[in-house]
Symmetry: C2
Subunit: 456 residues, 2 copies
């Protein structure tokens, strides 16, 4: 890469941080209607910043909720088109009293920038802006065509994003998506995320009798929905921690030997992990390490359950009803619709005829796995190595990032997840922070990334 | 029995009902502090009524709550002493709008007297008073020595009764207790209750981690207390409906062949029972009829459970904690302390080390079984047959009547439970009622009862 770009990034280091502080001062809390104007101000700030760095075609796109900022620069004919996705909205700040400095008054302590949104996701969005600026300012152009989509509703469920993407498929057409909204595996371990788990989620309602019954007068003659729910849910896993739904594992893509080797080589302290969670002992599917369990194995969880008397004291009631929320984390190549069907069929089969069963399927999504041998992945790896002086590791995430699935499904293009947050960055908690060394390394890495992606 | 007594009861029928109405007009709701004065007025009414019928030594005994009325007539030397127990307080009346006539304005419709307390327990208490009056008015004396204890806190848990009995053991010394606070098995089926179930009740708390966890980021590596609770509770019974706690059935007194025969001959419509409960199917321990299951078999019930997210929608949380309320109905000769110990030991043994378990034992009590061959039982049977023209059946109750255990434990005397309510009398619901034919038959029966008990 042009050494002027590298020098520019080095020389403007402090200015970049000052500019990021201005971005962070806007309290763009998307979940709270009180901040509606601030969210719009923030969108306008983003569009203005994009123009300032050289992307003239930047604008606010109205949605039913907060505006989406869209920008594009398409003057690299014959070169790939990269769609960069990020979000400018932030999480709420409660409990405010736990913050050591006010959440919207950025404060640097020990090389870390404390502010709401510093890591999630304003700092990471801004890192891309600054690397694009470095290219513009030194060569008057970018190495690839760039489309930029920065939404303002990620922290409240991206309610209007799918429709926007679906309505603007042509405009958003690109060769790949780049997202920086995932953490590094650990400090000093640059990471590329290549896999996410999917989800199916259900509410289950059981009804035994018309009303709650006295456990003395009737106990022994009727099924108790609280008990039936317990038994049904308890039997969804075997003592080895495997889900008992027939066919559940049929489409699970096994970990490759290389993956297992790489995960094993990651600096992961099982005992520290257990201690930090406050668990007496860890528990998971036999035959897999914790990282394998989180990244590559499906789960069955009871997310909530309620039935009968739950107040202080004792009430001798046989509840008429029981309700449970359950979900399964899915991995490639499990199909959420198929798993949902298998679960429903199994539950209906094992549920006794003594209760009425209602199953309600709720939200969910497909697992995602990037083709690890896609040229973009290699490009990202080279860019990271140049930016951080260290070969990045390939990791997965146990959760879902719905927009990744949306891009895969609607635009049929791969995503590269290259984030520079840290696991202890407090993304959704008080004292959110961004390591400024990682911010600087991230600007350099993404400058390299756009350059490297020109070659694929 | 002296035919004058029988004639007296017949001739004063209408007066008895009018007097009962006056008793029922006093709103002696013991749970509501607003009615404190009415409760006391009612106690005074009871004491005055006892004097009026001929028992001079009748008085109010103060307690920490509502007063107890105590009276005695001990002028039958060489004859047994009968302790009659009842209560003058009544249940609250909500929802008031469902009453067809005001709860404290007694109203007769189709031979039934509608009023709060008509069946539970004022009508049944008054029936004893009137039979005692019939003896007094016609022979100037009673066939046995009589002690009368009418409390005013039965509907709020008899909070001060145990202490009163314990403090007054000598005064209350008797050969047996008579209680009329249980229903007949069915209309036209006079019943003597000779068995009650006991109870042990627990709260169980499970803690998995310090805080709720994101099911994506951590799911698969930690035990989920909601799931663990489900599995543990589900495994407390086997598919045949038998409790799996080792030793649980060791002391269960088996039903005798005669009991099973008698229960089978009772007019019990299983399909009607199921329909009225609104249950799709009944479910209970294999090998027993519903009546046997309720009366003579122990149970394990989940009375309540709560964990995690139970609101609208979906939240992908692994709960940090789960709480359940569970109880076991006990039968003779299961000892509550032993069963509690077996349950705790079993639960601690099967509970995985992945969660922290707290077991809290709550209230409970012993099961009770009257010696069916005690002369008092035969006396009650003869009295009932004379009063109703029909041999009574011997039945049990699935619930507990704590005072029966208290009498058994503190005074070491048997109780005879001879009630004339009906199963559909709405004891704790709107439109409580008393069948006036049963009231009249009850007065006659209890007049016979005191006479019969003189012979034992």
């Amino acid at each position: 890469m042009d050494s002027r770009v590298i020098n520019f990034i080095e020389q403007n280091k402090d200015r970049f941080v000052e500019e990021l502080k201005a971005f962070l001062r806007i309290p763009s809390i998307s979940t709270d209607p009180k901040y509606k104007k601030d969210v719009r101000d923030c969108a306008q700030y983003v569009a203005a910043e994009l123009k300032r760095i050289g992307i003239e075609d930047a604008r606010l796109c109205e949605t039913a909720g907060h505006p989406i900022v869209y920008a594009q620069w398409l003057q690299a004919p014959g070169r790939p088109t990269v769609l960069f996705y990020g979000h400018y909205d932030v999480q709420p700040v409660d409990p405010l009293n736990l913050w050591l400095s006010p959440p919207f008054e950025p404060d640097i302590r020990s090389g870390e920038l404390y502010a709401r949104g510093s890591a999630d996701d304003k700092g990471q969005v801004f890192m891309h802006f600054k690397s694009l600026e470095a290219h513009f300012k030194n060569s008057g152009k970018l190495p690839v065509n760039v489309k930029i989509l920065i939404e303002g509703e990620e922290e409240c469920g991206s309610l209007n994003l799918d429709k926007f993407i679906s309505d603007n498929k042509e405009m958003l057409k690109a060769d790949l998506v780049v997202i920086s909204d995932t953490p590094m595996f650990a400090r000093g371990v640059p990471s590329i995320c290549y896999g996410l788990r999917g989800l199916v989620y259900f509410q289950i309602d059981l009804t035994g009798t018309s009303t709650d019954l006295h456990s003395g007068s009737f106990g022994g003659t009727v099924a108790n929905p609280a008990y039936v729910a317990a038994r049904l849910l308890g039997e969804m896993k075997d003592p080895e921690g495997r889900v008992t739904i027939p066919g559940f594992y049929d489409d699970v893509k096994p970990l490759t030997g290389r993956e297992r080797q790489e995960y094993a080589s990651l600096p992961f302290d099982v005992e520290k992990y257990r201690r930090e969670l406050g668990a007496p002992e860890l528990w998971g599917e036999k035959g897999f390490t914790p990282l394998e369990q989180i990244w590559a194995r499906p789960t069955f969880e009871v997310n909530g359950i309620v039935s009968g008397f739950t107040g202080e004291g004792a009430k001798t009631v046989i509840p008429a009803r029981a309700m449970a929320k359950v979900s399964m984390r899915l991995v490639p190549d499990q199909d959420p619709d198929k798993i949902a069907r298998l679960f429903e069929e199994h539950l209906r089969k094992v549920c006794p005829k003594t209760v009425e069963l209602t199953i309600t399927r709720m939200h969910g999504g497909k697992a995602w796995l990037a083709p690890i041998d896609h040229p973009a992945m290699a490009a990202a790896s080279r860019a990271y190595q140049k930016g951080f002086g260290k070969k990045p590791v390939f990791v997965r995430e146990g959760g879902s990032i719905p927009v990744v699935s949306t891009f895969a499904e609607l635009l049929k293009i791969p995503s590269v997840l290259i984030g520079i947050g840290l696991p202890d960055e407090n993304a959704h908690a008080p004292n959110e922070k961004l390591d400024l060394g990682n911010f600087q390394g991230g600007i350099l890495s993404t400058a390299h990334l756009y350059e490297e992606l020109a070659q694929i």
